[in-house]
Symmetry: C2
Subunit: 415 residues, 2 copies
């Protein structure tokens, strides 16, 4: 049997035992993991240095190397993340509905673990711990498939987690790492119906598209965000500036940052030149429609291709529209249903935008950067779902659960 | 552009308009459809006769022809089903959560339509109306792909629905029928990411497996049920008989009927011979394990293959087990996570069974036949989900919705 199938089977065989554990038992095991990561941080850093050395040899960029790098401080941060998961309420066992039927059957709908979660991700080794902690807390076992660039780090982290679990009530087989660095191991995971209950991809667009296009296992799609901010004619100028600069510049590499600014022609005439100057002073490259380029000379043209691109960078498209209708049409065409914002003082326009824009999160006078599990107060985030089934938007712990109907009676039969 | 893509695009283009409609507008349109189906039943019956004639030519079985056949009475029943959907509460717009954040943002989580629902189904033309009514009520447009054996009936029904919608606030393009009878039209639907928001298969195991194996569009899997009843040593004999006969014999063709009876050896010794006689008197064919065949002579052996088969017929496997543990192991191995029952007076065993069996519905002293949207009181049923994501078990109207976060503030930006 292949490594992938063997390990997924082990995770599946362990799922029932994990589903039965009390919250206390799960929290104790997570606390032991947090302690062990810190106590054995030397070991992790040594393995991480192997990854870094290999990365330097292969000419990996400095920014990617920095994402990969683990230090005592970063490991302490990862352990602190595990402790935050411990502090969260355990959704498993929650009674979501409870009702009696006329024939006397009592029906309860309870939260249960999903079973086995497959995580396919890239780069940062902190995801290895985050994902394992979130899955274990919700009574799921997990099969981890991280990027090959972090393989030594991930091996070391998973060895420590598994060795630690041996001293707890969670079986060590609850955490599995796929070590085969070939793409074929991902492809195999995607077809493991019956062994994996769900696959969650975390990473760039090509990783996510590969999973969505090839998985027969159910998927929770995360990620891609082409987000817009629409400045309406009644938008308050100072608020417009603050929100749009924040949405683009505060952290452009993430999915909830803005890629295209839509500006009402009236607002544009009075305020776009100064707003554009602020963006350029802050280091952004602007690309614009024809009308924008009349008001803001010297910038490149924004093409159809640009409107369809998630830059994840300090680049912004600016398009002048003749009103709400054209803004909605642009978002319908180019948006990825992630996060969309209107800045306006016109209540009716705000309501129409919130109602009609089809996205996980729709904002009125708030930066799109808030689409995030921590900012929403969920205390953890498995990712941001961009699909409509199961969960949409920031995913807290309940996203890693399913439900079960329990029916109790005294001999009811159907007529 | 192909028929499939053209019609899916039309449904997608109509989705936003439908999502905005009030419950009243949707209900009026549904009432008009119910009236039109009755007023034009002659037309439907004539088309249905074409399907029946073609079926007879092709040697279709009498039972399948009966499922296909429409009469004035059956059409009245279908119209009555539409009126029942009108009477149900509209889940769209429901506020599921509402909370403020320390920075003053107000966050609401509201139910929204999924968008465009693809339905792939077989045989009975009543599904054409049922599916359309449930989708329209929840603000979704629908692309219907029924079986070729009912194509004339479906064409007639959809023509009547679309012509009726022209006089209502629901655009007629909200209901689309794929008329291409080739399997390639199904395959094309399964890959329409961006045009279809979900595909729901309804039909036999091979139809469902084709959808699950080949869809890149999100799927809600329905159907397959290898359901068990376990008679524990303390099971009440009269109740055991009533529940197991009901679970197998009342309607064996459906997914929540029993395929295998697991019997505690103590209970078997005292009661299995008489219970087996009752099953055989009722017309069931029994297949048994070695121990069963000692107690009930003259029956065939139940093979591994039998335990893994959904008979949908008057055939029952009987297996004697030495206790709860072995029953749980058998269910883990052969169950399809649909509906499972324990009959026992031992509270601890009941609790353990309800807790540990991984299925959409777990029963204590109640027939598995109750896994059904109407029996659960949902007032409608889109199907019974056998997957763990999004919805599990009988699906009512909320299964056809997603959610959206609406965030309202006064200039909040992220630090």
């Amino acid at each position: 049997m292949s490594e992938v199938r063997t390990k997924a089977q082990a995770a599946q065989d362990t799922a029932a035992a994990l589903a039965r554990l009390t919250t206390e038992a799960k929290n104790e095991a997570l606390a032991a993991i947090a302690d062990a990561l810190i106590a054995r941080s030397r070991e992790i850093i040594e393995s991480n240095e192997e990854d870094l050395a290999r990365g330097r040899e292969q000419g990996t960029s400095a920014s990617l190397l920095d994402r990969l790098k683990l230090t005592e401080e970063r490991i302490a941060g990862i352990a602190e993340g595990v402790r935050q998961v411990i502090a969260l309420p355990d959704p498993v066992g929650d009674v979501l509905e409870s009702f009696d039927r006329p024939n006397g059957m009592q029906i309860e709908k309870r939260r249960v673990p999903l079973g086995v979660v497959g995580m396919i991700y890239e780069a940062r080794p902190n995801v290895t711990v985050d994902a394992a902690a979130l899955c274990l807390k919700t009574g799921n076992t997990v099969v981890l498939r991280g990027g090959s660039s972090a393989l030594s780090s991930n091996r070391s982290i998973v060895r420590i987690m598994r060795e630690t679990l041996e001293k707890t009530e969670i079986p060590s087989d609850a955490v599995q790492l796929i070590e085969d660095p070939n793409r074929s191991s991902v492809d195999e995971m995607l077809k493991l119906n019956g062994l994996l209950d769900v696959v969650i991809p975390r990473g760039g667009a090509s990783l996510i598209q590969n999973v969505v296009q090839n998985a027969t296992v159910p998927v929770i799609e995360t990620g891609a965000g082409i987000c817009h901010t629409f400045l309406d004619d009644t938008a308050e100028p100072a608020m417009s500036e603050a929100i749009s600069l924040n949405a683009k510049m505060q952290r452009p590499s993430v999915c909830n940052s803005m890629e295209t600014l839509l500006v009402h022609e009236t607002f544009a005439r009075d305020h776009l030149p100064s707003l554009a100057a602020k963006f350029r002073d802050a280091g952004a490259e602007l690309r614009g429609c024809d009308k924008t380029r009349e008001l803001v000379p010297g910038i490149a043209e924004a093409t159809e291709q640009d409107y369809a691109t998630e830059y994840n960078d300090y680049i912004l498209n600016v398009k002048i529209v003749n009103g709400l209708e054209e803004a909605l049409a642009h978002i319908r065409r180019f948006g990825t249903k992630h996060s969309e914002c209107i800045v306006t003082e016109t209540k009716a326009n705000a309501e129409r935008f919130l109602q009609e824009v089809d996205a996980a999160a729709v904002y009125h006078n708030v930066s799109t950067r808030f689409t995030d599990g921590f900012e929403f107060g969920f205390g953890a985030e498995i990712g941001i779902s961009t699909q409509k089934l199961h969960v949409r938007g920031p995913m807290g712990l309940p996203a890693l659960t399913s439900t079960k109907y329990r029916i109790v009676g005294n001999g009811q039969i159907r007529n």
